[in-house]
Symmetry: C2
Subunit: 470 residues, 2 copies
């Protein structure tokens, strides 16, 4: 493709995206296709000859869009929000066009240094002290794996340089709440700890980790000759946005030499509001924390912000230094390949830069306050509606609820009923919510926070839920 054809098709696709965003509210939020339906529209073999791009672009509406679930739709209330602002799209376009690879400083100094700039902006925005340094990772899952690996190596005196976890010492143990994200268990398994050395500690009525049970678990492990290693606190669990007691957990971490990692994947964005920062009181005592600006802040996926208090430790765990990667500047610069698992790195800072200068901090604050207010409004409706139950506190923007038909108390029938309500709403295409299970009880999660979601959309999803329940 020459530059002129790129101009022509590029303009066409920019317009296509603009049109897509405009007509999005009229599209079904959740894709309505059947398994295999999209795949069947594509040839089974690759094209021997080229020239098919114009056809592919023309096929987007027919063959791809029906298979897309619209995460930026104003009636997207599923999972957690994952907003991609249009400014962020433009930043990503520039990154793709440059095609620069930021594995080392020298392989594109701007990729490293603009990342340093925007990660420090984000640190300031969420009120983290200067003692934290940030780096972009792809996802919270990967960030948490990185944290657990750093914990493992700190506690084990850098076992990876010797026998790894196969040296026969006291087994290392990881702690988190039973409401922690599934990636904690996955990451503990991948890091080699083993499920038998993961303690999923019980939670209180607000679904936050209970410190007394944590104390008991640590004491039992110490008694059994095991070695407490890492503690994961969640600020805003995926199930209900519950808030683990970070300060209390930090005290335990300090007492027992545990690595404290805070998973604030969704909630980190709320910390742009000073009034929310009490939710993670004690955060300055964490060893690492992750939050996802690609969720609620508007920077397009993937952009996970991983902050550490001791970058030298991170680099020691992750560094590689073969001769073909050594450069004259290594002592003066950050080589971000040594700050995570992958070697190659995209220029993801551009989309963050574009987004932040386009909207500014105050507009992000206003939007977050709007979403919190909308969630509180919905919670109040649920509380006031006969036959409905709110399943958890609403400290942030996610409301967990279920329908309780008069006289019905059988959990199996309630589960089927509420699953059908959620699936019915989703099949209808006018809103998208997530059915989920909380401590054995089926519920429906309504997670507010798409950029375009206004009060009217929250009113509408509440109406749809009530209608589906009838």
């Amino acid at each position: 493709m020459d530059a002129n054809e790129f101009r022509r098709l590029g303009h066409q696709l920019v317009d296509w995206i603009a049109d897509y965003r405009v007509r999005m509210p009229s599209l079904p939020v959740m894709s309505q296709v059947r398994p295999g339906e999209i795949r069947a529209r594509f040839p089974k073999a690759p094209p021997a000859r080229g020239g098919g791009l114009a056809d592919a672009i023309a096929a987007l509406d027919r063959d791809v869009l029906p298979g897309v679930t619209h995460w930026n739709h104003p009636a997207f209330f599923a999972y957690f929000p994952s907003n991609t602002s249009l400014a962020s799209v433009l930043g990503d376009l520039v990154a793709a066009g440059l095609g620069a690879q930021g594995m080392s400083w020298v392989t594109s100094p701007a990729a490293t240094e603009v990342e340093e700039v925007v990660m420090d902006w984000i640190r300031q925005m969420i009120g983290l002290p200067e003692s934290f340094t940030g780096v972009v990772q792809d996802t919270a899952s990967t960030s948490t794996l990185t944290a657990l690996l750093c914990a493992r190596e700190r506690t084990s005196g850098f076992s990876q340089n010797g026998k790894g976890l196969q040296g026969g010492g006291s087994p290392l143990v990881v702690y988190a709440s039973e409401q922690a994200h599934s990636s904690i268990e996955k990451d503990a398994c991948l890091a080699g700890f083993g499920k038998a050395h993961l303690r999923l500690v019980g939670t209180d009525d607000a679904h936050a980790l209970r410190l007394d049970l944590l104390d008991r678990a640590i004491a039992q492990d110490l008694e059994a000759g095991l070695r407490p290693c890492a503690l994961v606190a969640t600020t805003g669990t995926t199930g209900t946005t519950a808030l683990d007691p970070v300060a209390g957990m930090a005290a335990r971490a300090e007492r027992h030499g545990l690595w404290l990692h805070v998973d604030a994947a969704l909630a980190g964005t709320a910390m742009v509001l000073p009034e929310c920062r009490g939710m993670w009181d004690g955060i300055e005592r964490a060893d690492s924390l992750v939050f996802n600006p690609h969720k609620w802040m508007g920077i397009g996926f993937d952009f996970s912000a991983y902050f550490v208090r001791d970058p030298q430790h991170l680099v020691r765990v992750m560094s590689t230094n073969p001769s073909y990667l050594r450069t004259a500047h290594d002592a003066e610069v950050r080589n971000l390949r040594d700050w995570g698992i992958p070697l190659g790195r995209r220029f993801r800072a551009l989309k963050a830069w574009f987004h932040l200068v386009d909207v500014g901090v105050e507009a992000i604050q206003a939007r977050i306050r709007r979403d919190l207010e909308n969630a509180r409004w919905l919670a109040a409706q649920v509380d006031a509606a006969p036959g409905w139950e709110r399943m958890a506190p609403v400290p942030l923007q996610t409301v967990c609820l279920r329908h309780l038909p008069a006289g019905e108390r059988d959990e199996a029938r309630l589960a089927a009923h509420n699953l059908e309500i959620a699936n019915g709403v989703n099949r209808g295409g006018k809103a998208y919510v997530t059915p989920s299970v909380l401590k054995g009880r089926q519920m429906i999660r309504v997670s507010v926070g798409a950029e375009g979601t206004e009060r009217e959309h929250v009113e509408e999803v509440w109406g749809l839920l009530q209608e589906a329940a009838r």
Copy 2:
């Protein structure tokens, strides 16, 4: 930003990228900025108010571009090529604009199914049998970590569901050649094996793994009560593109129950040429393999192709299934969150689809043949030039060479001399090569394969090297 402003700025940036690609040959290949120079051009604090995007776009040329090393430059001969075709840029633009998240099938069925389609196209393109199934990962580093985790779990009878690597059984051992990529050592460390259980086996004069030394290492480990677990073969090492004997290694893997993983990060693309497939003879016996279409095939970074023979095993190692991720279709579809480490996934298949339909297989084959021919031409020049030494065979597109001034045989002085040649060429900005060390001897790697690299550019870098040597 509303849709109209997006149109306006989007058109402007498409044009900017088109202009950038046209004027790229006139820019210094390697960025010439000093450490901190780019960072200093940005404000230290984030903007309170928005509206700054037009300024940011205007600042691209002044504040960002000087800090970019141009990986798509026709005189880029460093590392390995990392091409981003303009068609691929457009596919990435669509992915960003859709902002869809493909963690589960239902969260955007097209993201999963188009990935299934293009990964099977790529499988066919490189002549892999139907017994392999592909999935996109970010990098070869991550793919190899995934492979080592799968190996660990297969050999240990799924230890992660129990005590992990902390159960005190016979330690598991990983084997690769001492020319294997640095990520193998990093990944073995991260997976918990420990450096003490990694055998970097010696190589022959062509820098390929020696089977006799592998046999000896395995025998010694078995005798010592250790448990051979994983074997990594490299097709096209990073140092010299050496070719490990895959078939011979497969025989050892089968004999001892080792997981055979093939790292063909660069060389995989060459397998679009049937005449190259002898280089990885035996590949059908591998358990997993990775190659990076984002290197030499033209699909923009990141797009690493990971193929496995037993997807069920991969899913068993990587799966998570909390209630909020369960859907009605789980039995009928692939949920690609269970095929790798991160939970969230971008719609990366779009850029592959756009690239492949734009160019077609035959044009990719022609371009790869051109690059192989250009590398052979350069190798012949080096062989014929007095005072120059070719340091390794050239089976692919990378030529390793050094200058040997008459009478000079002191390795330290030769190293300084050749490092200065490489750095001199790079500082000059007219080409970018990689200084590297091969078995203790300083060399210069000239890696051919940018999309725009024609014979004249290879002639020019050869001229620049000769000039720098004088």
